[in-house]
C-alpha cells in the first residue's frame, strides 16, 4: 500500500514531521506523534482494512472520508484500541504514539486512552449523572485528582461551547439537554482528562443542521490546542471543518487508503482521479 505522510505532502506549510523543529512557521504541520504503519484490521475472517500508513499533523483537524464500508470507522477505532472490544476482531501493523506502539505488550490501554480520547456517533451522556458529574466522570474513572474541579468544569464546558447554556443548571440531568447540547457535553467530558488527540466517529450524524454547525465550530476551536481526527460521511462537513483529509476506498475487498493531503488540495486538485470523483459526488 501507498505510504502517505500528510505532513510531507503539504506544500504550503513546510515538510517538518517531527517535534524537534524550532521554527514557528512550520508549527502548524508539526507531527502530532500519532501515526500508523501498515495497519490492518480483521473481523473474524473478514479483512476490513489493509495496509494503512499515515501520520497525523498536530493541532489540526484530519477528516477520514470515503464511502460506506471503506473501513474509516474501523481505522479510527484502531487508533485508541477500541477495535479490540469487538468479538473476534484482530489487527496487524503498528499504531504509534510518540514512537511507542500502543499495541505493544505491557502498554496499559486505559492510560493510553487518556491521551487519545473518543467521541461517539450518538450523543451518550451517562444517564444517571448530572451535567457536572458527566464532565468530571473521566477523572473518577481514571482516579485522577484535580485541585480545582470547578474551574476544570468551566474550562471544559467553555471549550465545548456549552458553558453559557448550562452554567445555571450544572446539577440537571445530562439527558435533559437537546441532542446537540448532549453531544457538546460528551465533547466536554472527553476534554476533562486532557487528551492530546480526540477521535470523533461521525459526531454530527445524529444531529440537526443547526447543532451540526455549532459542533463544527467547536471542533475548529479544539484544533487550536489538540489534534482532532474525525470520520465523516458528509463532504461539505469535511471541507468545512478539516485541515487535512484522508480518503479511504474499497474495491469489494479490504478498505485501503487512497491518498491524504491538505483538504483544499483534496477538494480541488487531488492526485488520484478516484478522489476527485468521490469529493465531487460522482460515487459513494
Amino acid at each position: 500500500m501507498e505510504n502517505v505522510d500528510i505532513s510531507e505532502r503539504s506544500e504550503l506549510k513546510g515538510t517538518q514531521m517531527n517535534e524537534t523543529t524550532s521554527n514557528t512557521a512550520v508549527l502548524e504541520t508539526e507531527f502530532a506523534g500519532l501515526e500508523t504503519r501498515d495497519a490492518h484490521a480483521w473481523f473474524g475472517n473478514h479483512h476490513a482494512l489493509a495496509g494503512v500508513s499515515l501520520q497525523f499533523p498536530a493541532r489540526s483537524v484530519t477528516g477520514l472520508i470515503g464511502p460506506s464500508g471503506c473501513g474509516k470507522s474501523t481505522y479510527l477505532r484502531l487508533l485508541n484500541r477500541m477495535h479490540e472490544f469487538i468479538p473476534n476482531a484482530a489487527m496487524a501493523g503498528e499504531v504509534r504514539l510518540h514512537g511507542q506502539d500502543i499495541y505493544a505488550p505491557g502498554v496499559d490501554p486505559a492510560a493510553m486512552r487518556l491521551k487519545i480520547g473518543m467521541v461517539f456517533q450518538k450523543p451518550n451522556p451517562f444517564p444517571a449523572m448530572t451535567i457536572r458529574e458527566n464532565v468530571l466522570s473521566g477523572l473518577r474513572l481514571a482516579h485522577i485528582k484535580v485541585d480545582d474541579e470547578e474551574s476544570l468544569l468551566e474550562k471544559c464546558l467553555t471549550r465545548a461551547g456549552l458553558w453559557k447554556e448550562v452554567k445555571d443548571r450544572l446539577n440537571a440531568s445530562g439527558g435533559s439537554l437537546s441532542g446537540g447540547q448532549q453531544q457538546r457535553l460528551c465533547i466536554a467530558r472527553s476534554l476533562a482528562v486532557e487528551p492530546e488527540v480526540l477521535l470523533m466517529d461521525e459526531p454530527c450524524s445524529a444531529l440537526d443542521p443547526g447543532s451540526t454547525l455549532r459542533i463544527e465550530e467547536t471542533i475548529k476551536e479544539l484544533a487550536e490546542k489538540i489534534t482532532v481526527v474525525i470520520v465523516t460521511h458528509n463532504m461539505q462537513q469535511a471541507s468545512r471543518v478539516s485541515d487535512y483529509c484522508a480518503f479511504f476506498l474499497t474495491d469489494g475487498g479490504p478498505g485501503y487508503l487512497v491518498e491524504a493531503d491538505q483538504t483544499r488540495k483534496m477538494f480541488t486538485t487531488p492526485n488520484d482521479s478516484r478522489t476527485a470523483d468521490y469529493v465531487q459526488g460522482k460515487f459513494g
Binding site: 485508541n80 486505559a110 473518543m118 456517533q121 451517562f126 444517564p127 466522570s137 474513572l141 460528551c186
Partner: protein, 313 residues
C-alpha cells in the same frame, strides 16, 4: 395489529386467549377458595389473626376455646426472607457481572446452563442439603457471630444450639434464590448500551470502572426486580424451612436461636393433625401468604418490565 384476517387466525387467537385466560381464572379461583374457607377465621379473630402469637386448637366441647393467630410466623417469614436476600443479592450481582463481563465464552455457556438447571431443582433437595451438609458450616458461622457480636440483641443467644436457627435457614434459602436472581440480573446487565460502556473505556476507565459507572446504575431497577422475584420464592418456601426450623409461637428477633418458622412451614407442620377449625385457620394463613407472594411477584415483574423496556435508545 389486531385485525383478524382469516378463520384460521380467529381459531388460533381463540385457543391462545383461552390458555391465557385459564391461568388467570385459575389464579382467581384459588384466591377465592382460600378466602371463602378462611373468611370465618378472619371474621372471628379480626386483625388479631395477623398480630397475635397463640396457636391453640380448642377442645370439641368448647372448654378450651380456639385461638389462632400467625403473628410470629409473619415476622419469621420476614426475618428468614430478609436474611436470605441479604446473602443472595450481592452474590447474584457478583455472579451476574462475572458471567456477563469476565467469564470466557465457553465457561459462560456452561455456567448459564447450570444456573437455569439450579433454578429448577426442587426446594426439598436444598432443604436436605441444608440439614445434612450446610448446617455444620452454618453452625460455625452462627457461633462466630454470637461470639463476636453477641452484645447486639439480634445476635444474642440463650442456648448454645445454633443449628436450627433462622440464620441457617436464611442461608439455605439464599442458595435457593441465587439462581433466579442471578439469571435476571445477567439479563438486565447484558442490555447496558454498548456505547456507554465504550465511552468509559475511551475515557481511560478500566472494566471495573465501566461496571461501576454505567452497568450497575443501568441495571439497578432490574436487579431489584430480580431480587423481588427471588424474594417471592423465599417468602413461600415451605419444605426447606420446615426441615430446618423448629416452629415456635413466640415473637423472636434472635436470628441465631433455634426457633422461628414461617407461614408456609406452619401450614405444612400443622395440616396433618389439624382439627376442622384449625384447618380453616390454616387456610386463612394460606390466603395471607397468597396475597403476600402475589403482591411481591407483581411488583417485581412490573419493575423488571419497566427496566428492560425503558433502556435509552
Amino acid at each position: 395489529m389486531h385485525v383478524v384476517h382469516s378463520r384460521g387466525d380467529k381459531v388460533f387467537r381463540g385457543i391462545v386467549s383461552a390458555g391465557a385466560l385459564t391461568s388467570l381464572i385459575l389464579l382467581g379461583l384459588i384466591g377465592a377458595f382460600l378466602l371463602a374457607r378462611g373468611i370465618e377465621v378472619f371474621n372471628t379473630s379480626g386483625f388479631k389473626f395477623l398480630t397475635g402469637s397463640n396457636w391453640v386448637a380448642g377442645s370439641e366441647d368448647g372448654v378450651i376455646p380456639n385461638d389462632f393467630s400467625i403473628g410470629p410466623m409473619i415476622v419469621g417469614t420476614a426475618i428468614v426472607s430478609l436474611i436470605a436476600m441479604l446473602f443472595a443479592v450481592p452474590m447474584s450481582m457478583a455472579g451476574a457481572l462475572y458471567l456477563e463481563f469476565y467469564a470466557p465464552q465457553n465457561v459462560r455457556r456452561v455456567l448459564v446452563a447450570l444456573l437455569d438447571l439450579a433454578a429448577a431443582i426442587p426446594s426439598l433437595i436444598f432443604g436436605l442439603w441444608g440439614v445434612q451438609v450446610f448446617t455444620s458450616f452454618g453452625e460455625r458461622w452462627a457461633y462466630f457471630l454470637s461470639d463476636r457480636l453477641g452484645w447486639f440483641p439480634l445476635f444474642s443467644t440463650i442456648s448454645d444450639n445454633f443449628g436450627r436457627s433462622p440464620f441457617v435457614a436464611g442461608c439455605v434459602l439464599a442458595s435457593l434464590v441465587v439462581p433466579i436472581t442471578t439469571s435476571v440480573a445477567r439479563e438486565v446487565y447484558s442490555r447496558t448500551p454498548r456505547e456507554l460502556v465504550d465511552t468509559c473505556f475511551a475515557l481511560g476507565g478500566t472494566k471495573w470502572g465501566a461496571i461501576r459507572t454505567v452497568v450497575i446504575p443501568f441495571g439497578k431497577s432490574g436487579v431489584v426486580g430480580g431480587a423481588m422475584l427471588g424474594l417471592g420464592r423465599a417468602l413461600g418456601e415451605t419444605i426447606a424451612v420446615y426441615l430446618l426450623l423448629n416452629i415456635n409461637f413466640r415473637y423472636t428477633f434472635k436470628i441465631l436461636e433455634s426457633e422461628g418458622g414461617n407461614v408456609a412451614s406452619l401450614i405444612a407442620t400443622k395440616f396433618g393433625e389439624a382439627t376442622p377449625d384449625e384447618i380453616k385457620a390454616l387456610v386463612a394463613a394460606g390466603f395471607v401468604l397468597f396475597i403476600l407472594t402475589l403482591t411481591v411477584n407483581m411488583v417485581a415483574s412490573a419493575i423488571v418490565t419497566r427496566s428492560t423496556k425503558g433502556a435509552p435508545a
